[in-house]
Amino acid sequence: MTANAVLDIQELRKSFGSTEVLKGIDLEVLERELVFIIGPSGSGKSTLLRCCNRLEEPTSGRIFVGGEDITRRDVNLNHVRRGIGMVFQSFNLYPHMTAQGNITLALRKVLGKSRAESNDIALAKLEQVGLGDRGGAYPSELSGGQQQRVAIARSLALEPRVMLFDEPTSALDPELVGSVLKVMRDMREGGMTMVVVSHELQFAREAADRIVFMDAGEIVESGPPEQIFESSERQRTRDFVSRITRQ
């Protein structure tokens, strides 16, 4: 394992029944790196991401986060998950809580911080995602883009070592995508380690350090954006890239 790997996935396999959706994935994500995972639907991208905080149980293989093996049987999952932020396609904000309440819940119940301190952190994180004035708003009063930014703030508040994004902009109207991508770009500049599953190829090209192309449960190719998008030697990668950029 490379010394500064924040996330290290080794020989990861996952089967649903008799269908193997991850066929031995090896992937290292270094500190401050933004890794973009692309690939056709059903290729296992989301499952891979969800294995990284064990929302999905790996069938075999090991995953290290900050050097800690999170696939160990006796690992404290709640403790591990604090250090791994997750952003979902459908935002999954708690509808009965304000934006601020969404952010402070884990600060108070998991980290045991006081209400006042949690509120201060929530406000700071909301400002970071450009929503400093919307702390009192309920999710139903926010646009999709705003909801997703609150969801990002909710994860950021726990100061994770790595942030996982599972198609963060797929459920958004096109005009709202930019606001979320801007926040992600800011996070990258702030040095956050990020793994992003997304179809925003333009963003991938500009912001990603590395693109991982997955197909049928395997990593076909991994490399800098120019290699994947312009000069891939793999037929499967070129097919996918040309198919998706033509749209």
Binding site: N53, L55, N78, H79, R81, R82, I84, G85, M86, F88, S90, F91, N92, L93, Y94, P95, H96, L105, A106, K109, V110, Y138, P139, S140, Q147, A151, R154, S155, L158
Partner: protein
């Protein structure tokens, strides 16, 4: 002409006789208080037990689930009157004698717990999986997620069926009359037999309306107050 009383007069004489009503108003008022006491105790204890059972079932532990499922189905299937009579006349045989008040309260509490446990459970199951995942991914435990994220949503979702069921079961306080609880119906039927006139029953009916119409409107208010747009 001596046809006597008209139909209407006879109706008023037997159902709406003011003097009789005034005579028995204190008894009905007393019954009203007793009914209120049972009703409030049943609603609080029944819903509290119901949500607890639903929460325990959410953990999906077979040794606990099976007895809860049996309890819930039995209490939903049994007519509450049967259970009241069983407890009231049966338990003294094994050395436990409970007052009519206690038996009525206990029976209706268990019935409401059984029905509301099923309703709460449906609410828990209907809460989107993404809510669990979001909460768990921030390090909240199963129980914390249940309490802070899922149950509040489940309760709001189930308020309409819950209100209906709660009212339907709480009205059964009238069954207490068969085991001598001095609640509204008991006072009204006693008044009816002493006076030989149905007016105390009408007064009793009015007392039920005064008690339950506000509960129905409260249920409606809660529904609108806690409704929020789904994402």
């Amino acid at each position: 002409m001596s046809e006597g009383l008209s139909q209407w007069d006879r109706f008023v004489e037997s159902f709406l006789k003011i003097e009789v009503m005034i005579d028995y108003a204190p008894e009905i008022a007393y019954g009203f208080l007793i009914t209120c006491q049972i009703a409030i105790a049943v609603v609080i204890c029944g819903l509290a037990l119901g949500i607890t059972l639903a929460a325990i079932r959410a953990y999906n532990i077979a040794v606990l689930n099976i007895p809860i499922a049996i309890f819930v189905d039995a209490m939903r299937a049994l007519p509450p009157l049967v259970f009241i009579l069983l407890l009231y006349f049966g338990l003294p045989g094994v050395g436990i004698s409970l007052s009519g008040f206690t038996v009525t309260w206990l029976t209706l509490t268990l019935v409401l717990a059984a029905f509301s446990a099923e309703i709460f459970r449906a609410g828990i199951l209907a809460t989107p999986k993404g809510q669990w995942e979001a909460a768990r991914s921030t390090g909240l435990g199963f129980g914390q997620t249940l309490i802070w994220v899922v149950l509040p949503q489940a309760v709001r979702m189930t308020i309409p069926p819950l209100t209906n069921r709660t009212i339907a079961i709480t009205k059964n306080t009238a069954l207490g009359t068969v085991v001598g609880v001095g609640e509204i119906l008991n006072q009204a039927t006693t008044g009816q037999s002493f006076s030989g006139n149905a007016s105390p029953l009408v007064l009793g009916a009015l007392a039920y309306l005064i008690l339950f119409v506000p509960v129905v409107s409260f249920g409606r208010w809660v529904e609108t107050r806690f409704a929020w747009q789904r994402q």
